[in-house]
Structures are given as C-alpha cells and as structure tokens.
Amino acid sequence: MSGGAIDPEELQQHRSYLLRYAILQLRDPHLAEDVVQETLVAAIEGRAKFSAQSSPRTWLVGILKHKILDVLRKRSREAELPVAEGEDPDELLDSLFQQDGHWATPPREWGDPEKSLENARFWEIFEQCCQRMPVKTARAFMMREFMDMSSAEICQELVISTTNCWVLLHRARLALRECLDLNWFGKAG
C-alpha cells in the first residue's frame, strides 16, 4: 500500500466536470462519456503514481487531455474533420466590418467584465458561445486557451498551416466576443 495513493471514490467525484470538459471539446456526449470512463480507469490503475504535488483535479484533467487528443488524432486520420462546415468564414467578418475595414459597430465598453467570472450564468453562456462556433474553429480555440497548447502544436494536431491556425483562432475570438457581447454584456448593462 502506498501512502500517496488517492481513493478511487474521490476520483469519481470529479466525474461531472471531466464530462463537461470532454463534451465541450468533442461535442459528442457518448464519446465524451467513454473518454471520461477511460480517464477514470487509467487514474485508478495509475493512482500510485499520483503525487501530492498536484491536486487530483489537475492530475485527472491532465490524463483527460491526453485521451481527448488521442480521439481527435484518430478522427483526423479518418479524415472526419470538416474544413468549414455550416458557416461561411467570411460571413462573420463581413458582418463585423464594413468594406473599408472599419467596424460596422465598434465594440462598446464592457465595464468590469472580471465580475462576471464569478457568475454561474455567465459560464453557461460562455460554454454555449463556444459550442456555437464551427467545430474546427472551436477546437483550435480550446486547444489554445483551455489546453494551453502552442499554435505550432495546434497546427500539427489539426493538420493545418500556421497561418490557417492564426486565422481560426482570430475568428474564434471574434465570434466569442460577439456572442458574449450580445448575450451577456449587452444584457447585463
């Protein structure tokens, strides 16, 4: 018996947030369930390796990230990733900017947006806004902002050029900003 090991039951308690994380990334609840299941199994099997230096949550998310990347890799090998399904990328830019490149509607002040970080409703809207982005755009954004991957790593994962990666990330930010502005900051004020 090792002293540092964590209780399997304690690991189970983190299940629901692991699931949210996985669903947002994979957009497939069943697949997300599987990945979380695998993560918990791997964590329980490997719990002797858990060191008290990190929190169980951080440790689990670390395992989950790898599992998610495995799934994404498998999928991109199967060439399942649609390039720009549904949404015409230029449509967003055209709606935000005039022909001469000026804002159609210049962004307004958000006041003190940090306050929103403590509001549960804000996070619901934040997640909904992420879900509304085209799949590949959302994926690039989450890899960059949630998983803290570099743009070089993201290009590799998504098999796109660096320039394309920057374009996706920029589009994601524009879309998220717009969505939060319309559905949260505009209303809160």
Binding site: L93, L96, F97, W103, P106, P107, F141, H170
Partner: protein
C-alpha cells in the same frame, strides 16, 4: 508604412496572443489604438477572453 484599418488591426491584436510580434507590428498597432476607441475596447476584451479561458479550464 500604411495605416492599419480596424479589421487588420484586430487580426494583429489576435495574432500577438499566438506569436511574437515584430517591432513594426507593435508600433502600427499602438498607433491605431491611440486613435480608435472601438479597437481599444476590443483589445481589452481579448485580454478578458484569454483570462476567461484560463479560468474556465481551472475551475471547471
């Protein structure tokens, strides 16, 4: 150096979060920001989005 319009400027503001900017780019962005309130707001909001992303991953 030609002046950036808002569309080009937002593109650069975003890229600066993903790669190192050249001195010329930094100056162009700064000049634009000095004259454009909309882009100043946008710039602050980008910083907020990054913070929110980190916070989301942390708190879950």
């Amino acid at each position: 150096m030609t002046m950036l319009n808002c569309k080009q400027n937002t593109e650069l503001l975003s890229q600066v979060l993903d790669r190192p900017a050249t001195l010329r780019e930094r100056l162009a962005v700064r000049l634009h920001l000095m004259m454009c309130r909309g882009c100043r707001n946008f710039d602050k909001q980008l910083a907020f989005l990054r913070k929110a992303g980190q916070e989301w991953a942390r708190k879950l």
